[in-house]
Symmetry: C2
Subunit: 408 residues, 2 copies
Amino acid sequence: MDRKNLIVGQSGGPTAVINSSLYGIVKGGRDQAEVDRIYGMVNGIEGFLKGQVMDFEVALPGEDLETLKYTPGAYLGSCRHKLPENLDDLAYKQIFASFHDMNIGYFVYIGGNDSMDTVSKLSRYGERIGSDVRILGIPKTIDNDLVKTDHTPGYGSAARYVASTVREIVIDANVYEKKSVTIIEIMGRHAGWLTAASVLARKYSGDNPLLVYLPEKAFDTEKFLMDVEHAFDKNCNVVVCVSEGIRDEKGTFICEYENDVCTDNFGHKMLTGCGKYLENLVRSRLQVKVRSVELNVNQRCSTAMLSAADQKEAMEAGAFGVKAAVQGETGKMVSFIRDSEKDEYVLNYGLEDVNEICNKEKPVPVSWIAESGNDMTDDFIQYAMPLIQGVVSLPLDDNGLPLFAYRK
Amino acid sequence: MDRKNLIVGQSGGPTAVINSSLYGIVKGGRDQAEVDRIYGMVNGIEGFLKGQVMDFEVALPGEDLETLKYTPGAYLGSCRHKLPENLDDLAYKQIFASFHDMNIGYFVYIGGNDSMDTVSKLSRYGERIGSDVRILGIPKTIDNDLVKTDHTPGYGSAARYVASTVREIVIDANVYEKKSVTIIEIMGRHAGWLTAASVLARKYSGDNPLLVYLPEKAFDTEKFLMDVEHAFDKNCNVVVCVSEGIRDEKGTFICEYENDVCTDNFGHKMLTGCGKYLENLVRSRLQVKVRSVELNVNQRCSTAMLSAADQKEAMEAGAFGVKAAVQGETGKMVSFIRDSEKDEYVLNYGLEDVNEICNKEKPVPVSWIAESGNDMTDDFIQYAMPLIQGVVSLPLDDNGLPLFAYRK
């Protein structure tokens, strides 16, 4: 048998489980007789073009690989590098020459829709030159905005983090009797999937967050202020969750309004989020106590709230991709298919043409947003609930803190 | 035996373990033959003055009490209410009349230095009128700034959250090869204990956070910029941790400089933190990629990073306080005494005169701050490390999220 080497890269923003997929790929590769050595691109395709490569047998031999399952960030480093549109560009020749020199038979790339553009271009170039290198994509994004897949690895853990953290902030907000508004700004510039997950925080009917706003529906500040006033009828402490990407009817991001007027000491426009903008709006117009909280980068790198379901699927997606590559598939992305016949949650894996996925975005269906425009329907809750299930207990280091894998 | 009732209240900002202390008090009270019914003040002394009282036997009978151990926020609700300086004020008469009506023999108040002021005043008034109600304080604050105690319940869990979250953000920051600065703003307006805990995040010598600034040393923005430039020699991704309360030589909070120039749409000064200010400073002066992250309210309400040591001590402090009250102590706060004779960490409980604690603050010793002014010494690490140890596994509810206790 002609054994070939496998190379894997990571691209785009990190998630809590991007390294779980990496684990699945390396472990899956080690399990395949057809796969010889397993290499990693350091800093994705951009690093590869500069010759940055590592060998998993040296860096993470045997059991050392296990720590990857719990490590946030991108173990291999990442990049945001768009390959040239023109396939005649020398970059492609260089990449495939390196593949040849390294005896690469399998290239697996973990990323979101921008990264799938790299998978698409490399597979098209490979096809053009008759290369036998199989090019596969493994989905990854906390934004859950990839088409042709039920959901994406990374979303479940980020959604679990959002739901759990919002629940804690709600409890914190209820401590005082005085009327108050807490605005929580959640990641998602174009799609509101993560903000939608905040409704999973509710413990009882009428619990906070009482108001939830997604970019999928035009945001009206006057209606928002009325919504807040009405919400005070239910609870003197109102918690509002907003996507960072909410925009008005004209399509202008709400956060841009703040930047219009707010200039820092150095004469630069200060970049703040829509949460801060709404905080000021509420303080000025409703004269109540108000604060805003930006969940920020922890949404994508918190391991304390890893969803066991998400972690498992991320690993399985990686292993499935390697198996598909060995079986001859190329130019595909691993997809998630939910078995809608079953009552309980059952997930199967499939393959989709990467050309139909890259550079596209999947918004939250408008039918899953309540007619009021400030809540989610039960359909969304049924969709999202299985994705945030299960606790992962983290191994600890000498400091008593979670033990992560570090690249030397 | 003349059995008396016990009443407990919570005051000031919440912590992850303020309800663990509440658990210790109620459980401890149930274990004492001298204690009959156990009541809670709803929204502290302020709520009590309005007659807001609950009965633990009704709200959390038997095993139901257990959930309190894992619940953030303040189960009883909180207040920020300063009792009158003049002990002749009618409020005192009213409070002790209510104590009498409710057959209260023991009053236990969980809080920080402001709340200990309430304990001080009530015990002084009690002494003046010859009351036999025993007045005890249980320490609580993530700020760790109470005098006469080795540390405070709440600090260990907040410090564990800070160390663990900073470690995750450091890993996230290392993903790209491009020079970058990440500024993490950590709670602590007057004392830098929590910011200091960020150094526990380091995994190896030379690991981030490379720079740490506390309010205990005057902050110099020009020196800060030089520190950042030098830090680039060690790592192209520099992570900086700053206390929200850093101030310059004149004593002006750094965050106030931003507010001088930054006005929102409504003509109000926009309140931002020093992290945002330093982000803009670095962008303007060093022309590098920079972001700031405010850890915000999660520092005090995250249960995912509960320190088992902190939780245990918070519970034991509560039970110790009740026992002391039953034994006749009054006007005291439970204190933590570290056994310095022992190599391993051993904690004992004691009592201190509450009058010597209230309204005072304990800063981080300047000798624990490195001479460079941007790091901590090993003495601090040895002090803090035992306080963040141990994982608490949280019971889950039907949503698969942490199960908390809710007051009906």
